[in-house]
């Protein structure tokens, strides 16, 4: 007989809580232009520079633009995932907001779901911008199925990076978090071939790329358009699932250590 134990929440209530949490999360994020603008602008800008302008100089119109569209979609997609979890969770943790949310009746899953949703929404905007640019200026053509699969793959592919970001956010202080995220994000993006096609790399670096989840997501996305390096798709999926589980496991460990005495 544990009276202090609250009654389990009904599904409808959980749904409402999730809506509210998502809404506030979105409002909060969009009121931070310092985050919104770079997150949206960088992938798009890079794609214009490297994917479209360079493409116009070399031969084979369309193919390089298509290739880069996929890799910059991945680059754009994983950024918000890493920052939304990495930097924001660290800040919530340091300010005590995380502790507050934990003691509130809200299920903690809503907190994370709202963040995932926000990250995905950003990814969606970026992907759609890149699609538009590629289609209009890069002469990219794909079947509807390929366009759709690319979108879905990158969107769901943000999950491992949410887990990764979460681990970072729970592990380091709010001050250190953005720096740490950048240290992970930018080199990983480059070494996974998100900026420069991976086959231009020396063979040893191409091998090394296998350790990065971003490489597997990029290969998965490129496989849709037939520009991947040839490994079977399920290996990439397996790698991504494995990374998600590893970082989730690590995050649970860190979560238990969070100091709630604010």
């Amino acid at each position: 007989m544990n009276i202090s134990q609250p009654a389990p929440l009904s599904l409808a209530r959980r749904w409402t809580i999730l809506q509210l949490e998502t809404k506030t999360e979105l409002v909060k994020t969009f009121r931070t232009p310092a985050f919104v603008i770079p997150a949206l602008l960088f992938p798009v800008m890079f794609y214009v520079f490297f994917g479209l302008l360079f493409n116009a100089i070399g031969g084979h119109p369309g193919n390089a633009a298509k290739y880069m569209m996929a890799t910059y979609a991945v680059f754009g997609g994983i950024g918000p995932a890493l920052f939304s979890f990495g930097a924001d969770v660290a800040s919530d943790k340091d300010k005590g907001i995380l502790s507050l949310k934990l003691v509130s009746p809200m299920p903690v899953s809503s907190y994370f779901a709202a963040r995932i949703f926000t990250a995905m929404l950003f990814a969606l905007i970026i992907i759609m911008s890149l699609f538009t640019l590629g289609a209009v200026f890069g002469e990219v053509t794909m079947t509807h199925q390929q366009w759709f699969l690319t979108l879905v793959t990158v969107l769901s592919g943000t999950l491992p990076f949410c887990a990764m970001g979460l681990f970072i956010g729970l592990s380091v202080s709010a001050k250190a978090a953005p720096a740490i995220v950048n240290i992970v994000y930018l080199p990983m993006a480059f070494l996974s071939g998100l900026w420069v096609p991976i086959h231009l790399f020396p063979a040893s670096l191409e091998m090394l790329a296998n350790v990065f989840p971003a490489y597997h997501l990029a290969q998965l996305t490129l496989a849709i358009q037939g520009n991947d390096s040839g490994a079977p798709w399920y290996l990439h999926v397996a790698a991504l699932v494995a990374y998600t589980l590893i970082f989730l496991g690590l995050s649970v460990k860190q979560f238990k250590r969070v100091d709630n005495r604010h």
Partner: protein
């Protein structure tokens, strides 16, 4: 409810967005074979299927060749979705681009070589200015219209030795002590290997030849110096004793075989032991012996109807030297046979463009002569592909294994059946891109004229036929001859004429100075004069021999004929067919020039016409 509605609207918008995105006109079927074409694409990336391939060493029946960015790649190395364009080889026979291992290069040597399927030439002495101007382009994988050039640069010879007679001043060597420095200087100039000229008989008291030679000690010192500086040392020898000396001195290869005597057992043994290779150059030896092979090529070969006048001219007459030892050419072939039987590596080289030989064409005939000397057709092909690759530092040329440059020929018939089938060329491919073969050269349909009158110079220098008269001297070859031209009112017949005055300098060995009638603004486009039989003109001036020069756009070397000039005005009439080696359908200029015999000259030209 509102939240769900927003999500549904968003999803609908995304779907609408995706449905608006462009789709390919034809849905690509991933991994499927695109329909085969029978044309090679412009880019150097494609798969050539349905061919039999000789990779330089061995044959592969009914296989395919993958080419990516100008190189041979292994078929699986690109992801299968990156489907290479498939080109149907239609049962053709693919052999590596041929390598001529003994040439001398200038003018259009590299163009002509490539047109006939020789994609790499190993030059054995040329003007280093020519070599250096061409050296860089062998590094590129972009489409090329010329064969790649490797060269010994300046050869190693004595003062007054063979090699000094061409008018290009070259350094010579006198003592063994100079050898290391001499070799180092050649390498500094860019030479890829060292070629030495050696004639053992030159040191004999009764030597009657026109050339001196370095002595044995110097030969040995140069070979040693070359080896110390890690380059090959090859030796020009023309007789048995010299060949034996070269072998003893440790040479890497002989760049001729010899007629006259049969190779001694000692020579064969030395060559076997030291793995010395030989480039028999039967082409030039056949010309020296007057075998008439060039004439046979002109009259009856797949090349016959396409040969450029310059090439025809070059092989029409053999050297046909007098006082040759008996069985000179038969013995040269016998020596090749003996060396081949003894396991000595035989390489294909022609010594083009010495008289009786010409770039590209002669190498096909060299292969025929090698087969006549006991090589199998496949061994003859190796002599022009894999062996040069294995011996000379020429990069990935001469084979078609993975990583090789995509320099190759597609033949219509199997050269194993008859080595003459190398002349049945369908495609010549350099750096993966098809280049115009000898039978595909665009015939420039040059302008022509009904009236043959060039000018009577009544009022000025502007001709009625042709573009303009210009001054032409050897200054364009760094000579120092001079000339001026002017219109004078009272010339030959007391009416207007063209007066040329000038001096002949000594800087260029084959000096000229005078005036040229140009048929267009540049020397690259020609004029059709084939409807005329003779050129006629009035001339008076310094007493002596002058020359009429005719220039074709592709051949930088003019054809010429000489005529006499007197103080009295007289008419000169020259039959066009007497000026050999000219393509009269495509003439870029005609010149009246003075040479070394008239150091200071002047002449007046008038009433020039063709008839």
């Amino acid at each position: 409810m509102r939240f769900s509605l927003i999500i549904i609207v968003c999803l609908a918008l995304i779907s609408a967005f995706i449905s608006l995105l462009p789709t390919p006109e034809v849905t690509p079927q991933q991994g499927s074979v695109t329909s085969a074409t029978t044309q090679l694409p412009e880019s150097g990336s494609y798969r050539l299927t349905n061919v039999t391939v000789f990779d330089g060493e061995s044959w592969h029946e009914n296989t395919e060749l993958s080419i990516h960015e100008g190189r041979i790649i292994s078929p699986g190395s690109l992801s299968q979705e990156e489907t290479l364009l498939v080109v149907d080889g239609k049962g053709g026979y693919v052999i590596p681009g041929l390598i001529d291992t003994h040439t001398h290069s200038w003018n259009n040597a590299l163009q002509q070589s490539l047109q006939y399927g020789v994609t790499t030439t190993l030059d054995m002495f040329t003007d280093s200015r020519f070599f250096l101007s061409k050296k860089q382009q062998r590094n590129t994988l972009s489409p090329q219209q010329e064969a790649d050039l490797f060269s010994a640069g300046v050869l190693v010879t004595s003062k007054g030795g063979h090699g000094t007679e061409y008018g290009i001043p070259i350094p010579t060597i006198a003592t063994p002590q100079e050898a290391p420095e001499f070799v180092a200087a050649r390498l500094a100039e860019g030479s890829d290997y060292i070629k030495i000229v050696y004639d053992a008989s030159a040191s004999h008291a009764d030597h009657k030849g026109r050339f001196t030679s370095i002595d044995y000690e110097t030969l040995q010192a140069v070979v040693t110096a070359a080896h110390e500086q890690r380059v090959l040392a090859v030796v020009h020898v023309m007789d048995l004793t010299s060949a034996e000396d070269a072998a003893k001195a440790g040479a890497d290869g002989l760049v001729h075989t010899f007629g006259g005597k049969i190779a001694s057992d000692e020579l064969i043994k030395l060559m076997q032991e030291q793995h010395i290779f030989v480039i028999p150059t039967l082409s030039i030896l056949a010309s020296i012996a007057g075998e008439g092979r060039g004439q046979a090529l002109i009259e009856n070969s797949p090349f016959s109807e396409f040969m450029a006048p310059g090439a025809k001219h070059a092989i029409a007459t053999d050297v046909a030297a007098k006082r040759l030892p008996e069985n000179y050419f038969a013995n040269a072939q016998e020596n090749t046979r003996l060396m081949h039987k003894a396991g000595i590596r035989i390489l294909a080289g022609t010594d083009a463009p010495n008289q009786g030989t010409t770039h590209g064409i002669s190498l096909h005939d060299e292969l025929v002569m090698l087969v006549d000397s006991g090589l199998t057709p496949t061994e003859a092909l190796q002599a022009a592909t894999y062996l040069p690759y294995a011996i000379f530092p020429i990069g990935e040329r001469g084979h078609l294994k993975v990583g090789a440059r995509a320099d190759y020929l597609v033949l219509n018939s199997d050269p194993r059946e008859d080595i003459r089938h190398t002349q049945q060329i369908r495609w010549v491919v350099k750096n993966g891109s098809k280049v115009p073969a000898f039978f595909e050269l665009r015939k420039t349909s040059a302008a022509t004229s009904e009236s043959g009158l060039v000018s009577q110079f009544d009022s000025g220098l502007t001709p009625q036929l042709g573009n303009q008269f210009v001054v032409s001297t050897d200054q364009m070859m760094r000579g120092n001859s001079t000339a001026t031209i002017e219109h004078i009112a009272k010339g030959c017949h007391n009416n207007g004429a063209l007066r040329v005055q000038g001096t002949i300098g000594k800087q260029f060995p084959y000096p000229w100075s005078g005036t040229f009638l140009m048929f267009s603004d540049s020397i690259d486009t020609g004029y059709n004069l084939s409807n005329f039989k003779r050129i006629v003109f009035d001339i008076q001036g310094t007493q002596g021999q002058f020359r009429l020069m005719v220039l074709n756009p592709q051949t930088m070397q003019p054809s010429e004929v000489s005529f006499a000039v007197d103080k009295q005005c007289k008419q000169v009439s020259i039959a066009l067919k007497d000026i050999t080696g000219v393509d009269w359908q495509n003439v870029s200029g005609i010149g009246w020039v003075a040479g070394a015999t008239t150091p200071e000259f002047e002449f007046e030209l008038d009433n020039i016409y063709f008839e």
